[in-house]
């Protein structure tokens, strides 16, 4: 086990005051809080900072740590002396969901862990609810269907240590689920205590970008390329939608950015979202004599200044 330098983690001097430690914690907590931060290793850093703060904010723990840390350097192999913590009194519980290092466990394990794993006082037998986030493909919501998720769950092992356990769940994704919503899996949370019921698992969903459709809440949109004459004269063109290819009528006089709505063809939620087709004008290349002649004829026949709105 490596010795952890909690002062270094918090970026404070060894003789920092309580106020300085608190200030450093708040700053780091805001930076690395998993709900706020987009830093890659935010969760790990936040836990590390939380662990350091847990020790340094408490005069008893800090004194015990300082006493012990006198002869150690960070990273050095560390073994706590037997009964080293005698004579120190510990109070208070750790942050709500600690996953502290082995180092912390070796020092303060029994005290800090004592409130975990008991479940919930008001429902003694019920297992804890678990929460997770997953990234889904949009088709799972459009069509429903089974998907496999691998979740990492912290678990308390037989010795009271916190360990991470992987499990793969095969889940029937409910059709019409929206980004940010939660799938509830009854009984898939923490194990029951005694004769109680196990907790539930809540999976919050986000979607990976779809190659064709853009998601906005329950609505979907598609950028559909059309030829200039299809937009100008009107046409019926094939367009993909989540429920299959449809024939879409482009009204005459459409332009780039025209938005056509197909009601109820978005995410099949309750109520269902809409499907928007946004027109893009694709120009045919002028790479042969015939095409060039057609452009030239149009230039001659149609007085048109595309820059009129710029005043030139």
């Amino acid at each position: 086990m490596e010795f952890k330098d909690y002062y270094k983690v918090m970026g404070v001097a060894r003789d920092a005051t309580e106020a300085q430690i608190k200030q450093a914690y708040r700053k780091l907590a805001r930076k690395y809080h998993p709900d706020v931060s987009k830093e890659k290793d935010a969760e790990a850093r936040f836990k590390e900072v939380g662990e350091a703060y847990e020790v340094l904010k408490s005069p008893e723990k800090r004194a015990a740590y300082d006493q012990l840390g006198k002869d150690y350097r960070p990273g050095q192999d560390f073994r706590p002396p037997p009964n080293w913590d005698q004579g120190f009194e510990f109070s208070g519980a750790g942050p709500g969901d600690p996953a502290y290092s082995d180092f912390f466990d070796a020092l303060f394990g029994a005290q800090a862990r004592s409130r975990r794993g008991r479940g919930d006082d008001s429902h003694p037998g019920r297992g804890e609810d678990h929460h997770a986030k997953v990234l889904l493909d949009l088709d799972a919501s459009l069509n429903g269907g089974a998907r496999s998720f691998t979740l990492r769950m912290p678990e308390i092992d037989a010795e009271g240590r916190l360990a991470s356990k992987e499990r793969t769940l095969n889940v029937q994704v409910p059709k019409g689920i929206l980004a940010g919503q939660q799938i509830r899996l009854a009984g898939q949370g923490g194990g029951a205590h005694g004769n109680g019921t196990p907790g539930d698992l809540y999976i919050e969903v986000e979607f990976a970008p779809h190659p064709l459709y853009r998601l906005d809440g329950r609505d979907l949109s598609l950028e559909l390329p059309v030829a200039p004459w299809e937009a100008a004269l009107g046409a019926t063109v094939k367009t993909p939608t989540p429920t299959g290819t449809v024939e879409l009528k482009i009204p005459a006089g459409s332009h780039a950015g025209s938005k056509l709505r197909l009601k109820g063809r978005g995410i099949p939620a309750t109520p269902p979202g809409d499907f928007y087709v946004v027109l893009q004008i694709a120009l045919p290349p002028a790479n042969d004599e015939k095409a060039k002649a057609a452009y030239a004829a149009m230039a001659g026949a149609v007085p048109f200044n595309p820059r009129a709105s710029l005043g030139v």
Partner: protein
């Protein structure tokens, strides 16, 4: 990877289907009921009245848990929590839009 449908665990959309009592919500967030009332008063959570009793929809669970975490970990006060929850939701919304556009 698309495993077969028949052996999959049935999932339900919690946000739409669930109606939670204040007791449910306080148990699920491991805070007392008075604290849930404070969240409602501060506008962090909105209530649905069923026969003149307070109820919550499933998405209140996500918001309430977020609020509890922010309050605890960042030592925020209630107005701070309410502001942070609102801003974080707006941020998530904008990030989704940005991601959808950025393909």
């Amino acid at each position: 990877m698309s495993p077969s449908d028949d052996q999959a665990l049935p999932g339900t959309i919690f946000d739409d289907s669930a109606i939670l009592s204040i007791k449910d919500l306080s148990r699920m967030c491991a805070v007392d009921e008075r604290h849930i009332v404070e969240f409602v008063e501060e506008g962090v959570l909105s209530v649905v009245n069923v026969r003149s009793e307070w109820h919550f929809t499933g998405d209140a669970l996500r918001r309430a848990r977020l609020a509890v975490r922010l309050e605890r970990d960042l030592e925020l006060n209630l107005p701070g929590v309410a502001l942070a929850v609102e801003l974080l939701e707006e941020l998530a919304q904008l990030r989704r839009q940005l991601e959808a556009r950025g393909k």
